[in-house]
């Protein structure tokens, strides 16, 4: 990869921490309002771990992020983000050596999408992170097949699709998890988990040199 994944993950970690209050506000409408807090605390731990590791090997870095998130704060986001990063790490380790760098990036995003669906047992349309990560994985696969593809264009395509998916969650009624008990009261509200996934993908895309035009959150 021509871009520095460690720098990109550090950038994502800082952005997630900056988004703490906005993510809490989104969650207050649908859950117990702690999404921003647990995300910020998880990614503060990620920032610490990344800053102290010697490795620059992408699979190692993703594994480190996965294990850190998994054991940082718990909640629902620990296993979901943790499994996503661990699976993307495994996907990179097991990737066919003949794959191009953008194809490997797309494979890592696809593995993350599969892990989140498997662990959370949610489907597209349930108003969860799945509504961001599944379209992101599809867009990444398409972008990786373009002749002029780079990891940056793959990440930007993934981030843009995740943002569109996140926007669409406003029109959905939550069908799984804590928010599902609110039924139609969830209409009009953007899913915080989908927002976080998008924020991470946008941060990675920006670090890779392909920032999206309209980020999912305006960070201070």
């Amino acid at each position: 990869m021509s871009w520095d994944l460690k720098e990109a993950l550090l950038h994502a970690s800082k952005n997630v921490q900056s988004a703490r209050d906005q993510l809490c506000d989104l969650d207050a409408a649908l859950g117990d309002g702690d999404h921003g807090t647990s995300m910020a605390r998880s990614f503060a731990a990620v920032e610490r771990e990344l800053s102290s590791t010697e490795s620059n090997e992408p699979a190692d870095l993703l594994e480190l992020v996965g294990n850190t998130v998994l054991n940082a704060v718990g909640g629902a986001m620990g296993p979901l983000f943790g499994s996503a990063f661990l699976s993307s790490s495994t996907a990179l380790r097991n990737a066919d050596p003949s794959l191009s760098s953008p194809e490997r990036t797309a494979a890592a995003i696809a593995a993350a999408a599969n892990a989140i669906q498997r662990r959370g047992k949610a489907s597209v349309g349930d108003k969860t992170m799945v509504d961001a990560i599944v379209p992101a994985a599809e867009a990444a696969a398409t972008a990786a097949g373009q002749p002029d593809a780079t990891s940056a264009t793959v990440l930007r395509a993934a981030a843009e699709a995740a943002a569109a998916g996140t926007e669409h969650t406003k029109e959905l009624i939550a069908r799984i998890g804590r928010a599902s008990r609110l039924g139609e009261r969830t209409l009009g509200h953007q899913d915080p988990g989908a927002t976080s996934i998008t924020l991470v993908l946008e941060s990675l895309a920006a670090s890779a040199g392909a920032p999206v035009g309209h980020p999912v959150l305006t960070l201070n």
Partner: protein, 334 residues
Amino acid sequence: MSRFLNDPDNAVTETLEGFLLAHPELERRGTSRVVTSSTPPTGRVAVVTGGGSGHKPAFIGYIGDGMFDAVVCGDVFASPPVGSVLEAIRTVNTGHGVMLLLGNYSGDVMNFEMAADMARDEGIDVEMAVATDDLGAGSNVRPDQRRGVSGQFLIWKTVGAAARQGASLAELKQLALDVNSATRTMGVSLNGCTLPGSTKPTFSLDEGQMEVGVGHHGERGRSTEPLVQMDEIVDRLVDEIDQDLQLREGDRAAVVINGLGGTPMLELYIAYRRVAKVLQEKGVSIEVNFVGEYFTALGMHGFSVTLMRLNDRTLGLLKDPARTPHFTQTSTPN
């Protein structure tokens, strides 16, 4: 809302420190969030639960003889992480396996499931039972999508007693599922709650309104309705429970009236008074009752009614002795 705290970020840690000072018969390793009984479950299955903090006396108040061997504490209203659950499983396993009891919250289910998978990879027998007693979101909600709420107390008590009597891991899992399917809960409240460090409640109602179908995390319920008199509220709750549970004349029942932390006992007993009358009219006999704060929500002014259909075995297990910091009973003659 103001709270009596030091640094709100230390609320869970400081509670644990105080709890362990007050109850030296409990233990934890270092600064971990795993609390265990100081008596290891030698020769039998260990029973473990856990979840977010903020529900005292649940869950750590029930560690001890006849209930839990270990509890894994998360942050306020947030599941503990996988690593803590795995640590608890390893700590209490004496070779006879570990029974995990938890409520149906996606975070808890995912963290406990991952930890159970990891423990099985290490050769530890682990089973998991997820409670879904809540009818708060309506009986049209699929049973596997319902929350576990205060009816879980009855699962903890029966499974803890059966484990003490030497039941196998498979038997304990089946017992937990049986008690769960014989138990339903409905809750109401007059407010949400304020998390430590937060300045505003999760929701608030105008005077004269009540929230129907609340859980115990300050989350909103199914609907906001005009506050009516207690008897009318209880009739409504019991009726909704009974439409799903279908108690029949001659059935025996256990009743839990659970306060959410900000409800005076005065109100809880007025609720129990009506439940007792309604069940008597139906010809259902209340064999065991628990009125008090068993599973709270940071001072919510609300309560729930739990009804459970009993059989000889579950009645015996509910009456079996237990000795824990917040629930102790000696053997009661039938």
